[in-house]
């Protein structure tokens, strides 16, 4: 049951009605039960085992950490707790992946069964469990004494498979609060779910058709089609992942729970550090707080060099978290190098722009946003390409033949506008898709852009919830019809489902 399926919507509706009807203290037990059923419905019995192991170990270790008197003892509990969680992550996430991609192991019956242990969601709830233990060690969080509440903290179904990765101090207090029906929150939640479904089914999955046409077969393309497909993938992964997050946040709201906002217009960032403050926020905060900062402080004598090395290590690990393949490793490394470079260059540029009085210059800002988007899109090549060889092919063929393409374009436009010449010219860049599909894509992207602009300009950022009934319901229905008629129902998984 994926969270963009009809079955999931029915499930959420059923859980909500039951949740609403049962008495106060049973509500959280019901949510826990629903979360376990949801997880079990992913059709692999060992999933619950992996989840139970992480829950029990982190719960017990949290209590012992708090009870330990001496700092050495606390450190021992902390390190062993983190290590055990990493062992679970390795067993249920990396080992199966290694076995299934290594032919000599996957064909060996002594090993092949391991590939079946692959556990969706574990990378997310293991990070959450580790942050829980570290926060108790740092004494910024009290351990949760109720096992059921703790289990729900790790397994709450809207965020179980793909996050957001919640801090104990954000989510645990909310699980202790008695539920109160709040009509406004309900409306916000439902609208967020609807937006998420639209983003996923109408935009992301439509983009996927274009992107897959190229990226599943890169060797047959050179130049502009590769560039277009890479830009489209940058859009796809944003719409796909933020759609999941919208649905997760929306569903959680129905139960009166506010989860962490994971995205804040990331492609409007004007630098790579700013991009990471806006992209997959719950994850970037995690790696910065629990990997980067301790490393940076450990190497503080080395000043900027210490920060730069800490950033490279942090983002390399972030790549490995996504998967032990060269593509993800290079992706992480590139972001690490970008971030490390900004340690040295950003103070220089800041001073330069200040001296030239360009700090508030709009043209400079647009240029910075454009450059940042291109730097990020470049890294997505390694994230998306099927193999490192494919990625290297894309990188080395991105700009091939661009000059002649542009000359051809000019020739087809000048001296007189020549429609048939233009159509002939554009043909190879449509990535083999039909006109209808292209028209839909262009229209929905335009709508998404328009919505982003309206929201950026409105003060409360609550469009269309603050509009009159007529406009509001018009938009609700428009989106429902768009999903039904323009949606792509190929049942593509969410991209981040694999992590």
């Amino acid at each position: 049951m994926t969270t963009n399926s009809f079955a999931y919507l029915v499930f959420v509706g059923f859980v909500f009605i039951t949740f609403y009807l049962v008495k106060g203290k049973y509500r959280w037990s019901l949510l826990l039960l629903a979360s376990l059923i949801f997880y079990a419905s992913q059709k692999a019995p060992h999933l619950l085992l992996a989840l139970a192991l992480v829950i029990l170990v982190s719960y017990y270790w949290g209590l012992r950490l708090k009870a330990a008197k001496k700092d050495r003892k606390k450190q021992l509990w902390l390190l062993s707790g983190i290590l055990l969680n990493l062992v679970f992550l390795f067993l249920f996430r990396y080992l199966p992946a290694i076995v299934s991609t290594t032919p000599s192991l996957s064909s060996n019956p002594n090993w092949s069964f391991l590939s079946g242990l692959l556990t969706v969601g574990i990378s997310f709830f293991v990070l959450q469990a580790i942050s829980y233990l570290i926060d108790i060690y740092l004494e910024v969080l009290e351990p949760e004494r109720h096992l059921g509440t703790f289990a729900l903290y790790l397994s709450f179904f809207p965020k179980l498979i793909q996050g957001p990765i919640e801090r104990g101090s954000d989510l645990l207090p909310q699980l202790h609060r008695p539920y109160q029906f709040d009509y406004q929150n309900m409306r916000r939640g439902l609208w967020q779910i609807e937006q998420g479904l639209f983003k996923k089914l109408v935009i992301a999955d439509r983009l996927a058709i274009f992107v897959n046409a190229v990226y599943n077969n890169v060797q047959t393309y050179t130049g502009i089609p590769l560039i277009i497909a890479t830009y489209l993938y940058a859009l796809q992964i944003y719409f796909d992942f933020s759609a999941y997050t919208d649905i997760a946040l929306g569903v959680a709201r129905l139960f009166g729970i506010n989860l962490t906002q994971n995205f804040n217009s990331p492609y409007l960032a004007d630098s790579i550090p700013e991009f990471w403050r806006r992209w997959h926020i719950s994850f970037s905060r995690w790696i910065l707080d629990y990997i980067f900062k301790p490393l940076q402080m450990f190497m503080r004598e080395w000043k900027q060099w210490g920060s730069a090395i800490a950033l490279i290590i942090t983002f390399l690990l972030s790549g490995i978290w996504h998967g032990m393949t060269w593509g993800f490793i290079v992706w992480g490394l590139l972001h690490g190098i970008y971030m490390a470079a900004s340690v040295f260059f950003s103070p220089f540029f800041k001073k330069l722009f200040k001296r030239l009085k360009l700090e508030k210059n709009n043209i400079l800002k647009v240029a910075q946003v454009f450059i940042t988007f291109n730097l990020v899109s470049f890294t997505w090549i390694f994230f998306r390409a099927k193999t490192l060889t494919d990625a290297i092919y894309v990188v080395t063929h991105l700009l091939r033949g661009i000059g002649s393409s542009l000359r051809q374009l000019l020739r087809s436009l000048i001296p007189q506008v020549n429609i048939s010449g233009l159509t002939k010219f554009i043909q190879p860049y449509l990535l083999g898709q039909d006109n209808k599909s292209i028209l839909i894509l262009v229209c929905v992207l335009a709508v998404a852009l328009l919505a982003a602009i309206i929201n950026a300009r409105s003060k409360k950022k609550e469009f269309p919830l603050d509009q009159s009934t007529f406009i509001r319901w018009g938009i609700y229905y428009l989106l429902v019809f768009a999903i039904l008629f323009l949606g792509v129902f190929n049942s593509y998984q969410f991209i981040y489902n694999q992590f």
Binding site: D71, Y137, L138, E139, V140, L288, D289, F292, K293, P294, Q296, M297, F298, R300, E301, K303, Q304, G306, S307, V343, P347
Partner: protein, 82 residues
Amino acid sequence: MNIMDSLTEVFCSIFEDNSIVLKPEMTANDVEGWDSLSHVVLILAIENRFKIKFNQKELLTLRNVGDLLHSIESKHPVINKK
């Protein structure tokens, strides 16, 4: 000179701004240029100035200037009494 004055001096020299007036509830958001990168330089300067060494746990739980002051004081009770 008490700890607060010395600390203010360090802040002024690191962030190149002599008008900084520290208050215990101040956070990185209240001082221009205090980000995660300049934070390392600041911590290093404080350690050198007061001849102390912070441990990881202290560094990871600092929330504001008050916490910073408290950490320095806990390592320098003598200075505190002056």
